[in-house]
């Protein structure tokens, strides 16, 4: 950690109180029953993520990887200015659909999460939820210097500096912002990585799940969601 004025030392002990509607409590129902409710307990989201097993033989796995690389479906989650740079890719001038890349509206249908710029703490929370709801195999691409080292938000009080502390990033595309040509080059490079079987971000996330959660909870103070939502 770099040197800073000790008069601005942060009070790290302080915790954010859980919101009242999130606390467990006993409720009287309209028909007279008394029930215990625990709003944060989600019975469908209790299992942590699992490592996605490889196919039984290399040639089959290579075939799967080829298929995955040739259909990158992007979750349309726009953060920061990179969301604007992605629009020209959809239109005939750059036409990313030639590479089998298309944009999907929901996490369930997509396998590529583009973090297209700076992430504030508030957005990071939504990005984590969106990432966890995607089905494996899934990939993360960080766009621009904001996701790499904070970029122009290097001294911001509410913006993360390294995306790979919180989500497993398979690929960074440098620039501020990267032009659509750079994005296309990045997609081609990502395809090479996937075809070589080296895009193991989602498995990394499953293996180091505790570490990732600790990093996420260190900055997101009002954690009011299940630990893993799928």
């Amino acid at each position: 950690m770099k040197h800073f004025d000790p008069t601005f030392k942060k009070d790290t002990e302080k915790e954010f109180p859980l919101r009242e509607e999130m606390r467990p409590r006993t409720v009287e129902t309209p028909d007279g029953q008394t029930i215990e409710i625990e709003p944060l307990k989600d019975y469908f989201c209790e299992a942590p993520p699992k490592v996605h097993p490889k196919a039984y033989s290399k040639i089959v796995e290579d075939f799967y990887n080829w298929a995955r690389a040739e259909s990158l479906w992007i979750l349309g989650f726009g953060t920061g200015c990179g969301a604007i740079e992605m629009r020209p890719l959809m239109t005939p001038r750059f036409d990313a659909y030639r590479w089998g890349i298309q944009w999907r509206p929901t996490p369930r249908q997509s396998n590529l999460l583009m973090i297209s710029g700076y992430l504030s703490i508030k957005t990071l929370k939504r990005a984590i939820r969106a990432y966890e709801q995607m089905q494996q195999p899934k990939y993360v691409v960080g766009l621009g210097s904001c996701t790499i080292n904070g970029g122009m938000y290097w001294d911001s009080y509410n913006t993360i500096k390294r995306l790979d502390d919180y989500l497993p990033v398979d690929m960074y595309i440098a620039g501020c912002m990267p032009r659509p040509e750079a994005l296309l080059a990045g997609f081609v490079a990502l395809k090479k990585i996937i075809k070589a079987g080296k895009a193991e971000g989602a498995n990394l996330y499953a293996e180091n799940f505790a570490q990732y959660k600790a990093n996420q909870k260190a900055v997101i103070k009002d954690w009011d969601m299940p630990d893993y939502s799928w």
Partner: protein
């Protein structure tokens, strides 16, 4: 027109010397206890019907917050900004959400970002933009954004800063010796 208005207001209210920024923009400082009646008079009699903004300035050295109420008279195309100084410690302002409903949002923002309380304003203690913020209000001048960032978010090593002048000199004229320090 603004001079006539200020002269008229000065008969009833304690105002400081006005600051005529432009022909259509005037700043003047008012007393805190007269603010409400002044705002009502401006809105209902003088035609300043639109609250353009309500914001704060942190005068750290003087120990004061300055609340700026900017009002606009659309028919005459004139803007009048009222400044009110309030003490910085346990800062409390008077809510004006019943005069202009938009003030509610401004007051929520001031509560979160400057820590100025407006008792009686709807939802004033709810979170506005920040989620789960535990430190001091970040727009206060004694909050150091860089120090907070260094303590909270991990840096990636390798980030360097160049003086643009020296960097371009080296890039364009690599043979030239650097200037001796004077």
């Amino acid at each position: 027109m603004m001079k006539d208005l200020i002269a008229k207001l000065k008969k009833h209210y304690k105002l400081t010397e006005p600051d005529y920024r432009r022909a259509d923009l005037t700043f003047v400082t008012a007393q805190k206890d007269e603010l409400r009646s002044l705002l009502i008079a401006l809105r209902d009699i003088e035609g300043f019907t639109h609250l353009v903004l309500l914001t704060a300035v942190d005068w750290l050295e003087e120990g004061l917050f300055q609340l700026t109420y900017m009002l606009n008279n659309r028919a005459a195309n004139r803007t009048l900004a009222l400044r009110v100084m309030i003490p910085r410690a346990n800062a409390v302002g008077d809510t004006i959400h019943d005069l202009w409903p938009t003030a509610e949002t401004y007051q929520r923002e001031l509560r979160e970002m400057f820590g100025i309380d407006f008792p009686g304003s709807p939802r004033v203690n709810d979170e506005f933009i920040l989620e789960g913020w535990t430190d001091m209000p970040p727009y206060r001048r004694d909050f150091d954004s860089l120090a907070y960032s260094l303590q909270t978010y991990r840096e990636r090593p390798g980030r360097v800063t160049h003086d643009p002048r020296e960097h371009m000199k080296k890039a364009l004229y690599p043979d030239q010796k650097p200037e001796a320090a004077k």
